[in-house]
């Protein structure tokens, strides 16, 4: 698990080549220990939670303290900006109908929907898809800064999705 030199980001069994202007972060939520006192570094999870890797990609400056689905980041997006979140779920989801689609999807511009956002933001549109890759269940959540620009933005998203590699669960 490391932050590699160059423009490839790797960790927690996920790897992505970053196109110019794109930056990324891979993390697992810090889980609070039972009875732990609130410290400087606030845990985002709840005691006993089993956290899973999350990959965030964006062509704008990702702020710290984002929510898994981009809360705190999507509000800063301009019309040309894109936010991609790839969230892994627990192995208990494997085999369920929701995660039946195989492989990281490619998105058509028409699949972006203003109502597809976790919380609606004027002008933006979202896309959500559940799938299984390398025997690991994932949710892909993408936000585009402008629904009107869905065609060029969808191409950019697909270009970066092309760069994602998922290792098999150990």
């Amino acid at each position: 698990m490391s932050a590699p030199a160059g423009k490839r980001l790797t960790g927690h069994g996920l790897s992505v080549g970053l196109p110019p202007r794109w930056e990324g972060r891979i993390y697992r939520r810090v889980v609070a220990e039972a009875g732990a006192q609130p410290g400087r570094l606030q845990a985002a999870g709840w005691p006993g939670e089993l956290s899973h890797p999350v990959l965030h990609l964006a062509n704008f400056a990702l702020p710290p303290g984002r929510g898994d689905f981009g809360t705190g980041a999507v509000e800063r997006m301009g019309p040309d900006n894109l936010f991609v979140s790839l969230l892994e779920f627990g192995p208990d989801c494997l085999g369920s109908a929701l995660y039946a689609p195989a492989g990281i999807p490619r998105i058509r511009p028409g699949q972006f929907n203003p109502n597809g956002m976790q919380r609606r933001v004027a002008g933006q549109a979202g896309f959500q898809h559940f799938f299984t890759e390398a025997n690991r269940p994932f949710c892909l959540y993408v936000v585009i800064g402008s629904h009107r620009q869905a065609v060029p933005l969808a191409k950019q998203v697909n270009d970066v999705l092309e760069q994602i590699e998922v290792s098999h669960a150990g």
């Binding site: 980001l9 710290p64 303290g65």
Partner: protein, 258 residues
């Protein structure tokens, strides 16, 4: 009597010159001895204060051997929460203010205090603050966790320290996202103190004199040059310039109208 006065004045002037030379030489010897004795040469400006309303002088001293417009670098590292991070500072619209801080440097105290005091200092509009500490093996993540507020973006990356040739902490670098160049750097005791340097760097890049020619203009110029050269018309070609008499006639007409 007059001749004596003139001679005395000349002798006095010569003595003054000699004395100034001796004092200068003495100062140079002392400075050299101080360096040989292990004392560092003075590289930072002395503390200063200015009256209200008077801008502070530039505090960022030029560092020997550093290129003022050195290349900027993207920052790869990990956060205190274990995030694996790749932060862009090159080829982006915004500027990045990189604050190289450490958990064990006394000079960093002012920076950490201001980070933990909302409103004590703000980044210029359109810029991003990134605190860069050394990698976990060279730092104390537990102390950094106590020092750095949750809402501050801190990345641990010794590689970034090497990339930016950071001489020591605290050190602040302003990276121009559009040009991919460092456009300001220096040290100080707090963000407030170096804010003048940062503000100047950011303002300079937005000054009309620093404005880039629009791409469309440059494309148009290239097209025109290509067409003219294809037609055999190069620079200084007479056909590009109006005859001298026509220029004079236009000047006379303008004078008459005035």
């Amino acid at each position: 009597m007059t001749a004596l006065l003139i001679v005395e004045t000349v002798v006095l002037a010569v003595l003054c010159v000699l004395m100034a030379g001796l004092l200068r030489g003495y100062a140079a010897v002392l400075r050299r001895l101080h360096q040989l004795d292990g004392g560092a040469a003075a590289t930072t400006a002395p503390p200063f204060r200015t009256a209200a309303g008077i801008p502070e002088p530039a505090t960022g001293q030029r560092i020997e051997g550093r290129d003022e417009w050195a290349s900027s670098h993207d920052v790869d590292g990990v956060t205190l929460a274990g995030e694996i991070v790749s932060v862009r500072t090159v080829g982006v619209e915004h500027d990045t203010i990189l604050a190289f801080l450490s958990s064990h440097c006394e000079g960093c105290t002012g920076f950490w205090q201001e980070l933990g005091t909302p409103g004590s200092w703000t980044t210029p509009p359109g810029s991003r603050l990134l605190v860069v500490a050394k990698s976990p093996e060279d730092e104390s993540p537990s102390v950094l966790t106590q020092l750095c507020p949750d809402d501050v973006d801190l990345v641990m990356s010794s590689q970034a320290w090497a990339d930016f040739e950071v001489p020591g902490s605290p050190y602040v670098v302003v990276a121009d996202g559009r040009t991919g160049r460092v456009k300001g750097e220096g040290s100080g005791s707090s963000f407030s103190q170096v804010s003048g340097l940062i503000r100047q760097s950011v303002d300079d890049s937005r000054h009309p004199a620093m404005a880039r020619k629009p791409d469309s203009d440059r494309r148009r110029e290239r097209d025109i040059d290509r067409i003219l050269l294809t037609a055999g018309i190069g620079p200084q070609d007479a056909s590009l310039y109006a005859p001298a008499e026509a220029v004079e006639r236009t000047a006379v007409e303008l004078d008459e109208r005035a």
